[in-house]
Symmetry: C2
Subunit: 125 residues, 2 copies
């Protein structure tokens, strides 16, 4: 399956966050995953890290990328680069939904909390 | 540099195609590259392949992904998955610009023509 309609992808969620996996292991990929997420105003990802590289494309909205406790502001049409194992969080500081597409350098993607424990995800990655 | 404004990225081009590298080696990445390209109506990428995985997000427009000589139609809000070393071409078959964002599982990204020769690129990847 070379072409997939994104609207047909399963939808999952975490508090304040709606998720679709656009591409990953189920598509035969081992070194790429693509996720699209919408974070509600006032919402945020958990503080977490990945043992892979991550790039986030900001499609709409504004917010802060917090890396190792330091906040970096961003708006729409920005790109965020998150180094492997950097502890980070994405926060919607604006009044509209924050829409992002994230690319990861592995599939599946593991998420680790600050205490080192893996965060079980309610979606296939 | 964790946050970059995409509009500040250098612009490069091939015939009928405008390119911006959104993230890559210059950002400290080794296993991820993100490119954004606009293909004019009637335009196309060269027929080519990469020795890495590729996922293309179709942001606007419509076209065909030709893989090993077989055409697969797509529209906006589709995702294209291109296996490592699959010979492919993206063609804008519509009447408006085709806007895509491509993710690759390495940085820099090498492009090979059907005769096996590398295609020199006018941009940093």
């Amino acid at each position: 399956m070379y072409v997939t309609d994104n609207t047909q992808r399963p939808v999952a969620s975490l508090p304040g966050l709606v998720h679709r996996t656009l591409a990953g292991r189920a598509d035969g990929l081992a070194r790429l995953s693509l996720w699209r997420q919408t974070i509600a105003p006032g919402g945020a990802t958990p503080i977490h890290r990945h043992d892979c590289e991550e790039v986030v494309l900001v499609d709409r909205g504004e917010g802060e990328l917090v890396v190792d406790g330091v906040a970096h502001r961003f708006g729409a049409d920005c790109t965020l680069v998150i180094p492997r194992n950097a502890e980070h969080q994405i926060v919607n500081t604006g009044g509209e939904p924050l829409e992002c597409t994230a690319a990861f350098s592995v599939s599946p993607v593991a998420v680790y909390l600050p205490d080192g424990q893996p965060l079980p995800l309610p979606w296939e990655s």
